[in-house]
């Protein structure tokens, strides 16, 4: 008798599933901490978009350099699986990745950098890609941006450079249909694909949330970008389930409901999922309790000059 191997939901491996859930519960924990007055400043959660860095995780190499943006917790956790370091950074506690100076949006750690100004990272990523193309054959500079960032001129200057100089630059456009509170149709003329085409840059549009499908689609494209080298724009059609920042969602209920229909979370409701879900929820809560009890972080080396 042959058994039919059932395909796991979302094409997620055990490790994928754990990472998806880690990011989901981390973000929900942040919103709870905010509501409880435990966090200062602001934070931008990636609820609904967790699968993007998780899908990319197995396609990236250790020598790739990832540039993240304001909505970057998922990108960080997918690279380092370090919820305590990131939460300590956001809470300004001992063990913070950047001693609490950077906070939610400004993280630097081994080949990973995030910054809080839209579009700013693309020229820098082009410079890193230029370095990689000479020093680390096959390595990519990977820059995550949102659909709203296509309003910034820095994006086009960088795309022009990347295409002209054949730089190994992967631009990951997380197109969630809304730029803070402004829907795409009110802030983006034309399309992301059209813009990539204008520079002669390869563009791929990803509508699936299935990690296996995404990886199968992207694997040859990333390989070509590495070996070219050449820039590549990958546009994920995705959905932001939560607010832009904490509690600032002004979308009508039906728009939120439509976004929620695309949530990957209800799609993985098997037994394996239920066990992992509960375990990781508790694990993140324990991290939050432990980090909150730590002493405040210390900024010893301010040395800006």
């Amino acid at each position: 008798m042959t058994t039919v191997q059932e395909r796991p939901p979302l094409g997620a491996s055990e490790a994928d599933l754990e990472l998806l859930l880690l990011i989901r519960h981390f973000e929900q924990q942040l919103l709870e901490l905010f509501a409880a007055g435990e966090l200062s400043g602001t934070t931008h959660t990636c609820l609904g978009q967790e699968y993007i860095p998780v899908a990319l995780r197995t396609l990236l190499r250790p020598d790739d350099f990832v540039f993240s943006n304001h909505r970057g917790h998922g990108h960080y956790l997918a690279r380092f699986a370090d919820p305590a370091g990131l939460l300590a950074e956001i809470m300004g506690r001992e063990g913070a990745v950047c001693n609490g100076v950077g906070g939610s949006q400004h993280i630097l750690r081994d080949g990973f950098l995030s910054t809080g100004v839209q579009g700013q990272s693309l020229p820098v990523a082009a410079g890193v890609a230029l370095h990689l193309s000479r020093a680390e054959a096959g390595a990519l500079a990977v820059a995550h941006i949102g659909d709203g960032t296509w309003g910034e001129g820095a994006v086009y200057e960088a795309l022009n450079l990347a295409a002209l100089w054949r730089l190994p630059l992967l631009v990951v456009a997380e197109h969630n249909g809304i730029a803070q509170s402004t829907p795409t149709e009110l802030q983006l003329a034309g399309s992301v694909a059209g813009r990539a085409a204008a520079f002669g840059i390869e563009h791929a549009r990803v509508t699936s949330q299935d990690l296996g499908e995404i990886r199968a689609l992207l694997e040859p494209l990333l390989a070509a970008a590495r070996s070219g080298p050449a820039p590549l724009v990958v546009e994920f059609v995705t959905h932001r389930l939560g607010p832009h920042s904490k509690g600032d969602d002004t979308r009508p209920a039906e728009v939120l409901a439509a976004a929620a229909e695309h949530d990957w979370y209800p799609a993985v409701q098997d037994e394996r999922f239920r066990q992992a879900d509960e375990r990781i929820r508790e694990q993140v809560a324990a991290v939050a309790r432990e980090v909150a009890a730590r002493p405040r972080s210390v900024w010893a080396d301010r040395g800006c000059r």
Binding site: P123, V128, N160
Partner: protein, 333 residues
């Protein structure tokens, strides 16, 4: 005869590029045969193929790319064709390169030099004649330097590239054609300070100065001309200090000289309002309050755009006559 300033700068760029294979140079039209709008980069693209690149007209991107090269462990010099265009790279300089040195909670080395030709006097008009130094004063993680005919460019560039944080080099365009180290024989030249020395000009045989002029870059020769004028017509003795580092400004080595005179004019070509000179004046008032015999006098250009027609441009920009008038006023009391 000594080399012209632009040739000295060009030799310096060759020297620092040859000394470090990780150093790149980016800029608009910097490649041969053009060699840069002011020819400072002549010969570099041939001598260092792959490390010297002519770029698109994209100031933000090329400064950002330079910062990326530096972030990845390399070093970069970026040329902005006219200093006015540095405003297009403001975000990359102030909010990325400057901040990245410290905003990640620890010191992140970033070896980046941004060169920009500045200043008027050549009739280039409102968008090609500015002195944007004042817009970059007081940015955490950013140092400002200004070239002169009295500072060796190889030493200066080596120093800037060794800082480990971004630095801007302002190059007054009127200096490019001048001869290095050439000055009026009326003056005796020495130096003040060791790390970022000021060139110091005193009048041969004169006693204590009545006034000290602090005048960087392109205004140094106008300050020397004014000094000659007030000495010969009014018997006022000045000395002139030409700093190479504008910010942070190391006042310490200058204090004895400034205190002895008790009267100071800070000269710059920037248009009025929120200037480098006003920052320096504040420091001087704090450090020398008991020694000053008059408020530190600022001499700068008018609060106006820089006109194209030569007669209108002269009305806006600081002239040696403006400096002489300021010296007479500050020493009158």
């Amino acid at each position: 005869m000594t080399a012209r300033v632009v040739a000295d700068l060009n030799a310096a760029l060759h020297s620092v590029m040859a000394a470090d294979e990780h150093l790149h140079l980016l800029g608009e039209d910097v490649a041969d045969p053009y060699g840069g709008a002011f020819k400072a980069t002549r010969g570099l693209s041939g001598a260092f193929p792959g490390r010297v690149r002519a770029t698109p007209i994209s100031e933000g991107a090329i400064v950002g790319a330079g910062a990326g090269l530096a972030l990845a462990g390399g070093k970069a010099i970026v040329e902005i064709m006219f200093g006015d265009f540095i405003a297009l790279a403001f975000d990359q300089i102030v909010s990325f390169a400057g901040r990245s040195v410290s905003m990640y909670g620890r010191r992140v080395p970033l070896h980046l030099v941004i060169r920009c030709p500045v200043g008027g006097g050549r009739g280039y008009g409102p968008t090609h004649s500015g002195s944007p130094q004042k817009h970059f004063v007081g940015v955490p993680g950013l140092s400002l330097f200004e070239t002169s005919a009295f500072h060796d460019h190889t030493t200066l560039l080596r120093r800037m590239l060794s800082l480990g944080h971004p630095a801007i080099l302002f190059e007054d365009k009127v200096l490019y054609g001048r001869r290095m180290h050439a000055h009026d024989t009326l003056f005796h030249r020495t130096g003040l300070g060791t790390l970022d020395p000021c060139a110091r000009f005193t009048v041969e045989g004169a006693g204590r100065a009545d006034c000290v002029l602090v005048a960087p870059g392109g205004v140094a020769e106008r300050a020397l001309a004014a000094t000659r004028s007030v000495l010969l017509t009014d018997e006022i003795t000045c000395e002139v200090l030409v700093p190479s580092r504008l910010y942070p400004f190391d006042l310490q080595p200058l204090l004895p000289v400034l205190a002895a005179a008790g009267r100071v004019c800070v000269v710059e070509e920037s248009t009025a309002g929120g200037t480098w000179g006003s920052e320096l004046a504040q420091q001087l008032h704090t450090a020398l309050w008991d020694d000053l015999r008059a408020p530190v006098r600022l001499v700068h250009s008018a609060d106006a755009v820089i006109a194209a027609a030569p007669h209108l441009e002269r009305e806006v920009l600081v002239q040696d006559t403006d400096i002489a008038r300021a010296v007479k006023e500050v020493t009158a009391g």
